[in-house]
Amino acid sequence: MREKEKDGLLNDHDHDGIDRRGFLRCMAWAGTGVLCVLQGGVLKSYALSTMSGSESGSGSALPAAGELSFVQISDSHMGFNKAANPDVAATLKAAIDKVNGLAVPPEFMLHTGDISHLSKPEEFDTVDQILKGSSAKDVFFVPGEHDVLNDEGKQYLERYGKGAKGAGWYSFDKRGVHFVGLVNVLNLKAGGLGTLGQEQLDWLKADVKHLKHSTPIVVFAHIPLWSIYPAWGWGTEDSSQALAYLKRFGSVTVLNGHIHQTMQKIEGRVTFHTAASTAFPQPQPGQADSPGPMKVPAEKLRSLLGITDVRYVRGQHTLAIVDSSLA
């Protein structure tokens, strides 16, 4: 039986500010309906139904209007047209409609890769066109393995890599949050996983070296930077080195795509999150022979695709991550 404590905290039976059942719900991450916020190092969950329409809501414990609000979308696979989703342009448009319907408009979007399906120019053009319809002013990209076919990523770099280093890694700052886009889909070795490579790792080390440890860090890359399911290539072989460079920071959020389903893990001060695809779902680890497109009844498709809304409130060193499906 849930008791609604003061501050909107659910299940704070020990009165220590730790919402244990809420914590477990955050871990299970059933999808929409629960907002998990890490405040002062303590994970609190709020039922979205207790939040009023406006972001400031009850004012006290609920997050105030985010000072920084952005959206993560991923795996649009423009050009895919098989049974799992014959119209990926329509579902990407639906995702943008969802973005445009958010209570707090995002300042920008992160696209965590597999923008196109076959690295064809017209596929990139179509995505660019659809994204223009979003309320977000800018979109920041990192490539997926489907974006760097045939030319080692040359076309990707020309389109999306202005100002980036190497194969397209870069960083930028927004309202005191430091964003780092990494590329882990090139120079893949037979039998291997995603890879960052020494040049990029050296760049990352230098890039964050002089930041205060209180600076919230958001890292985004296509293939997960944590080991989700190596048998299916769902991991990055040298990500532990990257994470070591971020160990001293008070808040690190890692946003990935590639696996076409939402997954979240919190390890110390690092929150790992993977987004759903806007194109087609993939099976859960080990639940199928291979990680390919998962066919579901047409009426179920949009419930397995989605966007991720991320909010940062200054002074909290926290990012609230909310996944929502297209249906």
Partner: protein, 118 residues
Amino acid sequence: MKRIVSIGAVLVACLVGLVGLGAEPGAITASSEAKRDTVDVKIDNFTFGPQELSVPVGTTVTWTNRDDIPHTVVSTDKVFKSKVLDTDETFSFTFDKAGTYPYFCSIHPKMTGKVVVQ
């Protein structure tokens, strides 16, 4: 009489064959009757089938992608490299030299295969 004619016919055929071969650059077979063998590898469900293939020198291997997701065929030792293969697209390579040729899909590197040429 017939036997002489038939032997003669065979000799002539061989000579014609050899001359024909001589005019053809890059021919490697000794007999005009030898055919280039083609062996198929099917790509499906993130797997190369058969994953390990043994073929004689001179065989052309043709990979066909039957999966609903694109794949590539890339030699680990940079001997051959396909463009991206969407569903039903193919890539062929003729193995002129004996050896072991491990390869993988550069999009999904966990997919590996091997051609052993003897």
